[in-house]
Amino acid sequence: MKKLFASREALLMIAIAVLLGVISLRFPAFVAPSNLLGVFNDTSPLILLAIGQMIVILTKCIDLSVAANLALTGMVVSLVNIAAPGLPIIAIVAIAICFGTLLGMFNGILVWKLAIPPIVVTLGTMTIFRGIIFLLTEGKWVNSHEMSDAFKAVPRADLIGLPVLSWIAIAAVILFSIVMTRTSLGRAFYAAGGNPQAATYAGINVGLTQFWAFAISGAIAGLTGYLWVSRFAVAYVDVAGGFELTVVAACVIGGVSIMGGIGSVPGALLGALFLGIIANALPVVNISPFWQMAISGGAIIIAVILNAQANRTQGRIILKRAEHAT
């Protein structure tokens, strides 16, 4: 099992290396270390959201409201920043995480207690969250000159050669790698999605586990919401419109099974990086915008086909000894 995971991730790494090679033929400066760090930084929000989404998908759910949660939380912290410009940024970050968690818990409660299919729940809350932004602002934008300098400075502040935004993504990758592999909650996510019946017999509350998955996804989306609006220095209703699909695509490319139970943090990281590299490379390799869409879509399908092939090799040998006996 472990070997299989390693090989799938190795496959993605090879794909990324090939991708970088092809891009460098057309635009050599792209593979300069400073530019690659820039690409990583630009992909950081996607990495964060992909980790949250992966946890939700592991439990056989899906969270389509991540981008709307990001936009709503971003708008809320922007409005808080306007109302109280002196508020320390640590408080803003805390508000963002708490608010995002609440929105995620709302999804989780509906899925857990009312047993509504997650795709329906989050499709609904996606629209509701965007609607709330409109109600809060009447469609007005919060612009860079209304945000305090400290508010805008955090994601791009330099810390040992990397922007804080990148460090947050790295920290999340490390933290959730540990949570997913070394804690009972992390293993419960796999169990709840991999085989809900067996998980129930093992004493895992599947609904509650799904609730926590949504809460974590919401917390990450909230934090990313602050990072997003402060990075682009603008907050409005359509911030990150359609981004939820990019996040799901990153997970799928990263080998997360949409049926639940299979996936890893490094996989989500690589899936996000793959899409991030394409998104950053297409503008510099000078390709028609219509081809850009086709290339992005094609890359997703190829990755999914590769994943499906990888899944197929996974034989279900239940009785190892019996097999050897024959």
Binding site: F27, A29, F30, N35, G38, D42, P45, W141, N143, S144, H145, R156, W228, R231, F232, A233, V234, D238, V239, A240, G241, G242, F243, A279, N280, L282, P283, V284, N286, P289, F290
Partner: protein
């Protein structure tokens, strides 16, 4: 008998007085109604300010600034009906729907009320003329001129648009390309599309800077794009090297102008628009004929000539820079 005569006399007198009063008022004070999409929108408040300016200049003109509380055609129809009942002399409307308000406006014209549309137009049969804030060729030329003005030695410019299929943006870009030969030394090196998404526009702007090292200006004829490009230029420390310009709103662009990433940008001036609409309404109400080819004066804004559809374009988009941004950023 005597008493009844007295009452009827009083009644008759008061009616006469009332009628005389209203005729006298119509002669003394022309009442022009400025009907907007909805009340409480900064852009239209500014237009009303321009209308008042025109009224003061003309003298004897009273401006009725009105509109529904939300941007619906039904709300505007109610407003129009009440204006007909008040027997205003002219209605200048920015319509929420080009067709839905036509019957109400036709009724107004049947009653001898001058009807024009401005900003957001009404179908031809529902108004005497329509005033566009600007025209495609004027906008295309302006966005290019904004970039050229700040590059005396010429150089490379690139356009960051919305989506590749956006009709408005494509028309403006085509117009800018047509105007390109008039600006010697200015090379348009690329046109890229940010889909009106902050993150994609930001990335495209970064891509432009990476693939065109000699880039002097990024022109973004879209509010999302110009902000994202401004942020990308700021983050890469290229303020002063690369000028971000295009079409934006002063309230959104104030930060970019303050930081110096944007020298100047353009958008139609709502004050001028309200002023011109009022001037035209006044002119038509006092007897100037509207029709294809008609030339209508609009005070300090010069005059406009109507085309075949009774439409005219007011002027070049208005340019905003550090000298006037503080005045306008609170307006719209």
């Amino acid at each position: 008998m005597k008493r009844r005569t007295f009452t009827s006399l009083v009644a008759g007198l008061s009616i006469a007085a009332g009628m005389m009063g209203s005729t006298a008022m119509a002669q003394d004070n022309m009442r022009i109604a400025l009907v907007v999409k909805a009340l409480g929108i900064g852009f239209f408040e500014a237009a009303a300010e321009g209308a008042e300016e025109a009224a003061a200049e003309l003298g004897g003109v009273e401006i009725i600034y009105t509109g529904p509380t939300d941007t619906t055609a039904e709300g505007q129809i109610e407003v129009i009906n009440s204006l007909i009942a008040q027997r205003v002399d002219a209605i200048a409307i920015s319509a929420n729907d080009p067709d839905a308000v036509v019957p109400a406006l036709k009724r107004a014209m049947d009653r001898g009320i001058t009807v024009i549309s401005w900003d957001s137009g009404v179908s031809e049969e529902g108004r005497q003329m329509h005033l566009n804030p600007s025209s495609t060729p004027l906008i295309g030329n302006t966005i290019l001129k904004l970039a050229a003005d700040h590059m005396p030695d010429g150089g490379d410019v690139a356009i960051l648009s919305a989506s590749a299929t956006a009709t408005n943006q494509n028309a403006w870009i085509a117009a800018a390309e047509e105007a390109l030969p008039n600006y010697s030394g200015v090379n348009l090196v690329a046109t890229v599309y940010g889909d009106d998404l902050s993150d994609k526009s930001y990335r495209e702007a970064q891509g432009l800077m990476a693939s065109h090292p000699n880039l002097k200006a990024i022109i973004a004829p879209t509010t999302v794009g110009i902000l994202a490009a401004c942020q990308a230029v700021t983050d890469s420390g290229k303020i002063g090297e690369i000028n971000v310009t295009g079409l934006g709103l002063p309230s959104e662009m104030a930060g970019c102008v303050d930081s110096g990433a944007t020298e100047s940008f353009a958008i139609w001036n709502p004050i001028d628009l309200g002023y011109s609409a009022t001037m035209i309404a006044h002119s038509l109400a006092t007897g100037t004929a509207a029709g294809p080819g008609a030339e209508i004066p609009m005070g300090r804004m010069g005059s406009v000539t109507l085309d075949d559809t009774g439409t005219a374009a007011m002027a070049d988009p208005f340019t905003y820079d550090s000298s006037n941004i503080d005045q306008f950023k609170s307006i719209f």
